[in-house]
C-alpha cells in the first residue's frame, strides 16, 4: 500500500474510533464536546496573553508528556519490531524494560556521583535488556520454546526479580514506600524543557531508530535477520546462521527495551518504586503493528499513539470523563487501526451508497 493510502486508511480508522468513543462519552458525560476538544487538543500547549501583555505558555507539561510517552513507545516498539523482522512475535518488551531499568538504577547507585555513572548506566540498561531478550531468543533457537509463551513468562519473572531487588537489595528504608534511593544527580538526565520530563532521551529515540535501520539494512547481521524471517529453511540451506541471527534479533530488540527502562529510571522517575506497573511493553506491540513492522515508521506511529493517549488523559483531567472511558477509546483505536479491511469495507459501502443515490438522481 502506498504511504498516502496507508495514511488515509489510518485516518479513517482513527476517525471511526473517535466517533464511537464520542458516542461513549456522550453517554457518560455532561460535557461531551468539551471532552472531545480536550481529547483532540490536549497534548498541545496553550499560549495566552496575560492581562499585563506577557505571553504565558500553559500546559507545556502535556506537550512534554507527549514527547516523553512517544520516546518510551518508540523504544519498546523497536523491541517488538526487530524480532518481528525474524518472524518472532516477542511480547517480552516489558520484562526487558524492567531489567534495563533495574540495571541502570543499580549501576547509578553503585557508581554514585561520578561522570562515568551516566554512560555506564545507559550501557548497563541496554545490556540487561539485551541479555533478557537473549534468554527468550536462546529458548527459541535451542529448545524451540514458543516465544509468545516464553516472553510472557519471562515478563512475570522479570517483574518479580525487579520487586525482589528493589524491595530487598536496593531498598531505601527511609523512603516510606518501597523504592530505591534517589539516583545520584550525575547519573540522571535533566529536563530539556523546564517543568516537563522531556530529556535528552527524546533525541536518543530517533537515533536508536536510525541505528536500527542502519543495522537492518546495511549490515550482514541485518540481512541474516531478514532472511531468517523471510524463509528460515532457505536461509539454513544457504548457510546463513539462522539460529544466531534469530537469537540476536531478540537481544537487539531487548537492548532497546532496556533503553526504555533507562528512560524510566534515569530520566523520568530518577529512582525506582517497587510498584512500577507492567504493560508498557504491550503498548510497544500496538505501536509496532501500527507501524506495520516498519522500523522507519515507528517514531511516527509512537507520536500518533502517544498523542491520543496524552489527549485522553488531558480529557480526563479537564472534564468529568472517567479513566475507564479513556481505556475504552484507546482499545477502540487499537482495534480499528489494525483492522486492515475496515477502510476498504467502509469506502466500498460509501461508494455503493453514493452510486445508488447518483443512480436515483440520474
Amino acid at each position: 500500500m502506498t504511504p498516502s493510502r496507508e495514511g488515509a486508511r489510518i485516518a479513517l480508522a482513527v476517525g471511526a474510533a473517535l466517533a464511537l468513543g464520542f458516542a461513549v462519552m456522550a453517554c457518560v458525560s455532561d460535557q461531551p464536546w468539551a471532552a472531545f476538544r480536550a481529547l483532540l487538543t490536549g497534548p498541545l500547549p496553550s499560549i495566552e496573553r496575560a492581562a499585563d501583555g506577557r505571553v504565558v505558555v500553559h500546559r507545556l507539561v502535556r506537550f512534554g508528556a507527549w514527547l516523553q510517552d512517544a520516546t518510551t513507545l518508540t523504544l519498546v516498539g523497536l523491541a517488538i519490531a526487530i524480532p518481528f523482522r525474524a518472524r518472532q512475535f516477542s511480547l517480552g518488551a516489558d520484562g526487558q524494560l524492567f531489567m534495563g531499568a533495574l540495571a541502570a538504577a543499580a549501576i547509578s547507585l553503585g557508581l554514585g556521583d561520578t561522570p562515568t555513572a551516566l554512560p555506564l548506566a545507559f550501557l548497563a540498561a541496554a545490556a540487561a535488556g539485551a541479555g533478557w531478550g537473549l534468554v527468550a531468543g536462546l529458548l527459541k533457537t535451542r529448545f524451540e520454546a514458543n516465544e509468545i509463551v516464553t516472553t510472557l513468562m519471562l515478563n512475570v519473572v522479570a517483574v518479580q526479580v525487579y520487586r525482589l531487588v528493589v524491595g530487598r537489595v536496593l531498598n531505601d528504608p527511609s523512603a516510606g514506600f518501597i523504592t530505591t534511593p534517589p539516583l545520584p544527580e550525575a547519573a540522571t538526565l535533566a529536563p530539556l524543557i523546564a517543568r516537563t520530563t522531556v530529556t535528552a532521551m527524546v533525541l536518543v529515540a530517533p537515533a536508536a531508530v536510525a541505528a536500527a535501520l542502519f543495522l537492518l539494512r546495511r549490515t550482514t547481521l541485518g540481512y541474516e535477520i531478514d532472511l531468517a524471517g523471510a524463509n528460515p529453511w532457505f536461509a539454513v540451506r544457504a548457510g546463513v546462521p539462522v539460529a544466531r541471527a534469530t537469537a540476536l534479533a531478540f537481544a537487539l530488540g531487548g537492548a532497546f527495551a532496556g533503553l526504555a527502562g533507562f528512560h524510566v529510571s534515569n530520566a523520568l522517575l530518577k529512582r525506582l518504586p517497587v510498584d512500577l506497573t507492567p504493560g508498557i511493553g504491550l503498548e510497544g506491540i500496538v505501536v509496532a503493528l501500527l507501524a506495520r513492522g516498519r522500523v522507519g515508521a515507528l517514531p511516527l506511529a509512537a507520536l500518533g499513539y502517544a498523542y491520543l493517549r496524552v489527549g485522553a488523559q488531558a480529557m480526563e483531567r479537564a472534564t468529568d470523563v472517567p479513566r475507564e472511558v479513556v481505556l475504552v477509546i484507546q482499545a477502540l483505536i487499537i482495534l480499528f487501526v489494525v483492522s486492515d479491511r475496515l477502510a476498504p469495507l467502509a469506502l466500498g459501502l460509501a461508494r455503493r451508497a453514493s452510486a445508488r443515490i447518483g443512480g436515483r438522481a440520474a
Binding site: T219, Y223, L227, A230, F234, A238, G239, P241
Partner: protein
C-alpha cells in the same frame, strides 16, 4: 453424428488479481463430457488460474463459466464440489498430521450418531476406492510420513471420494515416476471412459500426446490455440505449445576430459531422528566435466543424499571428498566455501525467499564475504550491479533486482536459483529437480546451462524425477531404491523402461560397493 454435451465451458473469461495482474483475458474454450483435455502453456500463462476459477478458489472478473451447460458462480470450493468438480492442485494440499483416510474423507465424512466420525467406514471407503482406481495407499498412515508420490495419490482419491464428475489436475505428474505416471494415466482413461471429464495441465509434450483428446494452449493469459489431438502431428503440437521450434537438446559430451574423480563418496549412510535408515552404503565418483544422474522414486533417499552433500545433514556413516578433502559433516557455509553449490528440490520451500527481492535472494550465499561485504557491512551498490549482471547474463525476465522473487514465474525463479549457485563456477554442483514444473522452453534453457557448466569442468550430481532429462544430460546414471544404489548404468546403455523397473525395486540388484562398476 451426435455432439457430446459440454462438461466445461469458459466464455470470455477474464481474471485480474487484486494486485493488477491480468492472468486471464478473453479465455474461451470447452471440454466435452468424457473427454480428457490438456491445458498447456509456458509458466505464468494463466493455466492454474483457470483451474482455480473452475474450483471456486478465485472468481472471474468478467465472462462466464458453465458446468454441464449451466452457468455457475462458485464463491467457495464447497460450491464447486457440490457441482461435481474436483481439483488436484499444483501444490499438494493435505493436512499433514491427519491420516490418509481422514484427509480423503475431509469435508464428506461418514458419520455415526452424535456427529461422530466413522473411522472404520472411512478406512473401508478409502481401501475400496484405492482398489478400484489402482492407486495403492495405506488408509491408516499419517500423511506427514508419506513420500510426495503417495500424497499425490491421496489427492486424487480425495477427488474420487467426493464423486467428482469433472476432475481438474494441475501438473499431476511433476512428482511421479514413469510407472506411477503410467498407472495414473490408465486410471484417468478408465475414469474418462466411465463418463468423467478431465482437464489436465502439463508441461510435457509426450503426456499430452499419450493422454489428451483435445488441447488448449494459453499464452500470457489468452488462448492462442485449440485443437483436437487427432488433427495434430508432433511437430505441430510442439509448435503450438512453445510458439516456435523446440530448441535443440543440450549437446551430449562425448569424451571424458580427466580420469581423476573430483568427488568421491564412500559408504554414505543416514539414520533419521525416528531411527529409520534413510540411506545406506552409498558410494560414487564424479569426474570433472561429468554429470552423474541419480534416478529414483521420490522418497528413496535422493533428498537425504542432497542434504548430506550440502551440509544440511551430517552422515551417520561414510563421507564424501572433494579433490581429496572431506566435505560432509561441515556447515552449509563451509561446504559452499569449498566450491560445492546446491540447487534444492523445492524452490519455494528452501530454495528462495519469495517475499524478498531478487537481489536479496541472490545475496544469500555470498553476502558474508568480499566483494559484496566488508567487516559486516554490505556494499549495496556493488551488490546491485552484480545482481543486474546476473539477471542479464542468465536471460531472466524480471523488472530488476528489486522485484520480489515471488512475482517471478516458476521458470524464471528457477533460472535465478541456478544462476545464484553457478555464478562463481563451482567445482561440484548438486542439482535436485532443476526443471520441475518449468515450461519446455525454460527447461531447455536451464539444461543448456547445466551442460555448459559441465563443459567448463564442473562435476555435477543431477537428481531428477524426469527420466528424459536424466537420459539426455547424464554421462552415467545410478538408481536409488530404499536408500541404496541398486543399479548403475552408462547413460547410453539404458532406457527409461529399464530405469523405471529398477526404481521400483524390480530390477536385478547389485551386490556390494561396486561404485566403479561403470566407470
Amino acid at each position: 453424428m451426435t455432439v457430446a454435451p459440454l462438461a466445461i465451458a469458459l466464455e470470455g473469461v477474464e481474471k485480474r488479481y487484486p494486485n493488477g495482474t491480468l492472468a486471464n483475458s478473453g479465455v474461451s474454450f470447452a471440454v466435452a463430457a468424457g473427454e480428457i483435455h490438456a491445458l498447456v502453456g509456458e509458466n505464468g500463462a494463466g493455466k492454474s488460474t483457470v483451474m482455480k476459477m473452475l474450483y471456486g478458489l478465485e472468481r472471474p472478473t468478467a465472462g462466464a463459466l458453465r458446468i454441464h451447460g449451466r452457468p455457475v458462480d462458485f464463491r467457495h470450493p464447497g460450491d464447486a464440489i457440490a457441482a461435481g468438480v474436483g481439483l488436484v492442485a499444483q501444490h499438494l494440499n493435505l493436512v499433514p498430521s491427519l491420516t490418509v483416510a481422514e484427509n480423503v474423507v475431509l469435508g464428506h465424512e461418514p458419520r455415526r450418531a452424535g456427529g461422530r466420525l466413522d473411522r472404520a467406514a472411512a478406512a473401508a471407503r478409502v481401501r475400496a476406492l484405492a482398489e478400484q482406481s489402482g492407486l495403492a495407499v495405506d488408509p491408516a498412515a499419517t500423511v506427514a510420513s508419506l513420500p510426495v508420490g503417495v500424497r499425490q495419490r491421496v489427492e486424487i482419491l480425495k477427488v474420487l471420494h467426493r464423486g467428482a464428475r469433472i476432475l481438474l489436475l494441475d501438473e499431476p505428474t511433476a512428482v511421479l515416476t514413469p510407472p506411477e505416471t503410467a498407472t495414473l494415466f490408465a486410471t484417468l482413461r478408465q475414469l474418462a471412459e466411465a463418463g468423467r471429464t478431465i482437464l489436465v495441465i502439463t508441461h510435457k509434450l509426450d503426456e499430452v500426446k499419450a493422454l489428451a483428446g483435445g488441447v488448449t494452449v494459453l499464452c500470457q493469459g489468452r488462448v492462442t490455440g485449440s485443437a483436437r489431438m487427432a488433427e495434430l502431428d508432433e511437430g505441430a503440437l510442439s509448435h503450438l505449445m512453445v510458439g516456435r521450434d523446440l530448441p535443440p537438446p543440450p549437446p551430449r559430451r562425448t569424451a571424458r576430459t580427466r580420469p581423476v574423480p573430483r568427488v568421491v563418496a564412500r559408504g554414505l549412510g543416514y539414520v533419521d531422528d525416528d531411527g529409520a535408515i534413510r540411506l545406506r552404503d552409498v558410494g560414487f565418483d564424479v569426474a570433472p566435466g561429468e554429470i552423474l544422474g541419480i534416478a529414483g522414486v521420490e522418497g528413496n533417499g535422493q533428498d537425504v543424499l542432497a542434504r548430506l552433500l550440502s551440509g544440511a545433514a551430517i552422515p551417520s556413516a561414510g563421507d564424501a571428498r572433494l579433490d581429496g578433502r572431506v566435505f560432509t559433516g561441515l556447515s552449509p557455509r563451509a561446504v559452499h566455501a569449498l566450491g560445492v553449490a546446491v540447487v534444492t528440490e523445492d524452490r519455494l520451500h528452501d530454495g528462495a525467499a519469495p517475499t524478498l527481492s531478487i537481489l536479496d535472494n541472490l545475496l544469500a550465499t555470498r553476502y558474508a564475504r568480499p566483494p559484496l561485504s566488508r567487516r559486516g557491512l554490505i556494499d549495496r551498490g556493488t551488490a546491485r550491479r552484480w545482481a543486474q549482471a546476473v539477471i542479464d547474463g542468465f536471460g531472466v525476465r524480471a523488472a530488476g533486482p528489486d522485484q520480489p522473487m515471488g512475482a517471478l514465474s516458476g521458470g524464471n525463479m528457477q533460472k535465478l536459483i541456478l544462476a545464484r549457485e553457478i555464478a562463481d563456477a563451482p567445482a561440484f554442483l548438486v542439482a535436485s529437480q532443476p526443471t520441475r514444473g518449468v515450461d519446455i522452453a525454460a527447461a531447455s534453457a536451464l539444461q543448456s546451462r547445466l551442460a555448459a557448466l559441465r563443459d567448463q569442468g564442473a562435476a555435477i550430481l543431477l537428481i531428477s524425477a524426469d527420466l528424459d532429462e536424466l537420459l539426455a544430460l547424464s554421462d552415467r546414471i545410478a538408481v536409488l531404491y530404499r536408500g541404496r544404489i541398486v543399479a548403475r548404468f552408462a547413460a547410453g546403455a539404458v532406457d527409461a523402461q529399464t530405469l523405471g523397473l529398477h526404481m521400483t525395486g524390480l530390477g536385478p540388484s547389485l551386490d556390494g560397493d561396486d561404485h566403479d562398476a561403470v566407470a
